[in-house]
Symmetry: C2
DNA sequence: ATGACGAACATTGTATACGCTTTTTCCCCA
DNA sequence: TGGGGAAAAAGCGTATACAATGTTCGTCAT
């Protein structure tokens, strides 16, 4: 009765190409997905937080069926972990996963830079500079949540410019996971992406120098990774079988 | 009553580490997923084929709920396409998607080769040679279905050896999609992967020469892509809005 | 004969209900 | 007072039922 509902960012009515009849209530699911996803990326839901189906279904005003569907998609994207009879929780990346994610970003994002430098247009540069500006403002205003999300969006948008949707989607997924990694292994205080880094990257791209951009991106990612303190926290569930019966 | 069910490859009972109690009936879902996935990869379900929920739920003996879950996962993996009120069908990749997939494979699989060459062990080589042998046998026996699946498994296994699970999972997904692409754009007669190619690749890896292996893989993938006849079939659903109101 | 309208059918979308597993709480006993 | 066990509660897994929508086939009018 009195539970407050959330409206998950109302979208501009019809997003599809067709003008007249708008199809579906499935856009609702999309909105809820983004809503939860954003909350995780912005660290408003911290790693380890439990996501009970009942609670979510009440909050968003749909039944558990729809929530389960969204939760499963988030699990496929590695943002939440689904433990068999225990339900969903925000993923707590291991040190190994963190290394894998940054290695993958190193390979893909750097590899994409030459093609991006070749295809980038003035309008693209304008949009990216705007994003970079907003990111810097958020950082200066102390809004870490926004800054993290904007940084991930920046890297994602950059990857989109390559024209390869498959790789771009992969990069976006890696960026989301990176945000989780920052939440676990990042030192509070200085965020991963220093904004002047993004600015420098844009200058290389503007000059059309793909190789320089690639090298810059490589240093950028290495710097982020180096700023983490990746030490496996004391093992919360030690494998007693291995310890004693081994 | 009289519908034949399928048992989707019974697994060896308890896969988990713990000896006694086995967890879940969720392994059933995994098995069904693999069953459908294999059917698509082996071209026993051709692109465009419709996958009705009722039919699948009868065949596998579970309710539509479980089938929907599996279908959605397959959609995330790009093996099936979910059209809003029309249901699921095997994805028919576009020419652009095909290009994206092969570009992605070029970047990731080639990039992985040096690390694989560094880490590969004698036991790994043994296993891969065995896979290559079986693939060649299947090809000789004219069993295209098996050959395609074995080829994809070979590339996936290779990626696993890099130790990076994230990238390995991505490669496996790309290989599955490649199988779909072969189904649409491949010329009947000669399959993509000539088996001697895989043999040569293994020789380079055995020698520990990562750079040679990378170059070989690059040529290998280019050869597969070149063997395709990528011509967009006559547009089945032209965008009338763009044509007329444009 | 052909095309359009309408009704019956087929198929997906969503919610709710029930059963089972896990967890928690409370009481009793040592 | 602390620990163990049983009962209750909470939460997830699955199935089924109902509603909405798309499709197909038949009929009627031109």
């Amino acid at each position: 009765m009195s539970q407050r509902q959330v409206d998950a960012e109302r979208k501009p009515a019809s997003g599809s190409g067709r003008p007249g009849k708008n199809g579906d209530g499935a856009e609702r699911h999309e909105a809820i997905h983004r809503s939860i996803s954003d909350a995780i990326i912005e660290h408003r839901l911290k790693p380890g937080a439990r996501l009970r189906e009942d609670a979510l279904s009440e909050v968003f005003g749909i039944s558990r069926t729809g929530i389960r569907k969204i939760l499963q998609r988030l699990a496929l994207e590695q943002l939440v972990t689904l433990t068999p009879r225990r339900g969903a929780s925000v993923t707590r990346p291991t040190a190994e996963e963190a290394k894998d994610v940054f290695d993958a970003r190193q390979m893909v994002e750097c590899g994409l830079m030459p093609e991006v430098a070749r295809r980038i247009t003035a309008a693209d540069l304008e949009r990216l500079r705007d994003m970079e500006r907003r990111e810097r403002q958020a950082l200066k205003a102390g809004e870490q949540s926004s800054a993290i999300k904007l940084s991930a969006a920046f890297h994602g948008e950059l990857a989109r410019l390559s024209g390869n949707d498959t790789l771009a989607a992969f990069v976006e997924q890696l960026c989301s996971r990176s945000s989780l990694i920052l939440a676990v292994y990042g030192n509070a205080g200085h965020l991963g992406c220093e904004s002047h880094d993004h600015d420098g990257l844009l200058r290389h791209l503007e000059g059309g120098d793909g190789e320089r951009a690639r090298a810059f991106m490589s240093r950028h990612l290495k710097a982020i990774e180096a700023s983490l303190s990746i030490h496996e926290p004391e093992d919360e569930s030690p494998d007693l079988y291995e310890i004693f019966s081994g």
